[in-house]
């Protein structure tokens, strides 16, 4: 461990300290919260009021502003969970374990939101609530992966063992995600002739994609807020015997 410390930047080791991490999260939280609020509110107003209706799908197209950001977030959240888990496994970094654990519920709810909005959007577009569309199917499998990680995490009593085991599982899942995605895409084209999909559109005018971009960035900011809230809870819980946590609690 001692030799390794030389080639990693200093902030990495500060990040490894739960106390430093707790404080920096506390400082960053308001900024991200304000950014998320502005971006999400602005994005939603723009999306609902000012963005033009789609010439084919009409106003139901406006669901894209929730569907796409939540789907993107669900995927990148999994990536983050797996990477944080790997860091926790390799460098025995407690904070990374906690980040991985905090990622799982957010990612799972985002996957649920992407699935629900996809289904609701499917009703006016395809005429049925659920279609075994490749994207929806792989999102459903992503949700299963999240549920598996969360179930394993809660089934193991020892905190550090639970964190390590979930990290291994999420890494295995990470290797599998491209394979699953490819196989589902391929299976889908085999089963049904390629109809128009939910999200792939030829060229989107700027007044359509700018609010979309706003919503995506807003969702990321919201993710940061929720993650930091959860992370702070997790740090308090895991470090409950540390002196600084006691002082913090007594000062309240």
């Amino acid at each position: 461990m001692v030799e390794k410390k030389k080639w990693l930047p200093r902030w990495f080791y500060q990040l490894a300290s739960p106390r430093w991490c707790y404080q920096i999260c506390g400082k960053l939280l308001p900024g991200f919260a304000v950014a998320a609020l502005i971006l999400l509110l602005g994005g939603i107003v723009w999306a609902l009021l000012f963005a033009p209706a789609d010439y084919q799908q009409g106003n139901s197209f406006r669901i894209i502003y929730l569907h796409v950001p939540s789907a993107i977030l669900a995927q990148s959240c999994y990536m983050m969970m797996a990477v944080a888990g790997a860091i926790g496994l390799i460098w025995k970094m407690k904070v990374a374990d906690m980040v991985a654990k905090s990622c799982a519920p957010i990612g799972a709810t985002m996957a649920v939101l992407a699935l629900l909005t996809g289904a609701i959007w499917g009703k006016p577009t395809w005429g049925s609530w659920w279609v075994w569309d490749a994207r929806l199917t792989s999102m459903l499998i992503l949700l299963f992966l999240y549920l598996g990680v969360m179930a394993l995490n809660s089934a193991i009593e020892s905190e550090s063992t639970a964190a390590q085991a979930s990290a291994v599982l999420s890494l295995v899942g990470l290797v599998n995600i491209p394979i699953i995605k490819y196989s589902v895409d391929w299976w889908n084209t085999l089963h049904q002739p390629a109809t128009f999909t939910l999200t792939e559109r030829p060229a989107m005018p700027a007044e359509m994609w700018v609010p979309l971009l706003m919503m995506v960035v807003g969702f990321y900011c919201f993710f940061a807020v929720s993650l930091m809230l959860r992370l702070r809870n997790e740090i308090l819980r895991r470090e409950r015997r540390a002196g600084w946590v006691r002082d913090l609690l007594l000062s309240k």
Partner: protein, 237 residues
Amino acid sequence: MNQPLNPQRRPAIGMGALFAATLKRDLKLSLRRKSELVNPLIFFLMVITLFPLGVSPEPGFLAELAPGVIWVAALLATLLSMDSLFRTDFDDGSLEQLLLSPQPVMLVVCAKVLAHWMLTGLALTLVAPLISVMLFLPAEGVPGLMLSLLLGTPTLSLVGAIGAALTVGLKRGGVLISLLVLPLYIPVLIFGTGAVQAAVTGLPLDGYLALLGALLALGTVLAPLAIGAALRISVSG
């Protein structure tokens, strides 16, 4: 008498022999516990029987359903037998001894998975022709079915073993394994049934089999690593 404690060690048994010894040991253990040996097979047959009863006994319909049904049943049967892969070793302390061996754990793990596959995946592959007759699968599909099972079921055993290793320390790991492992089984299922359907309709199989082979190669390289790490974590807890 103990040997003198000299650091000059003479390897009496090499790695290949350890692999063979573990394979032989696990096969022997399963053969001495006959009920567990045939359970996955019986389960496989029973699940298959449920479909004509539950859906429809009409031959044309069953023939269309057969590739999927056989593959899903094979998948569930593999999963059912997965829990016991490391559990008995964990309970009687053999797993501790295994992990404390100076030999690479991956080697022993590979041998154990191979033994497991020989008694489930291979056995399922061998009874598959019988099942395909019961489900009216056209005769042209049978070679494709057997080849896809032969290439696909080892991957199922490898991936399932990761789940088994992760849950071995838990008192009730059975249901949890399915939850962890089933999503990971989906590519094998898709390509496996794809191969059988292609065989039935007379399309070339090579692509599907190549994909199943690629999955198997990837699994053989990566799964033992994950299984080894998972076992150390589970025993540590």
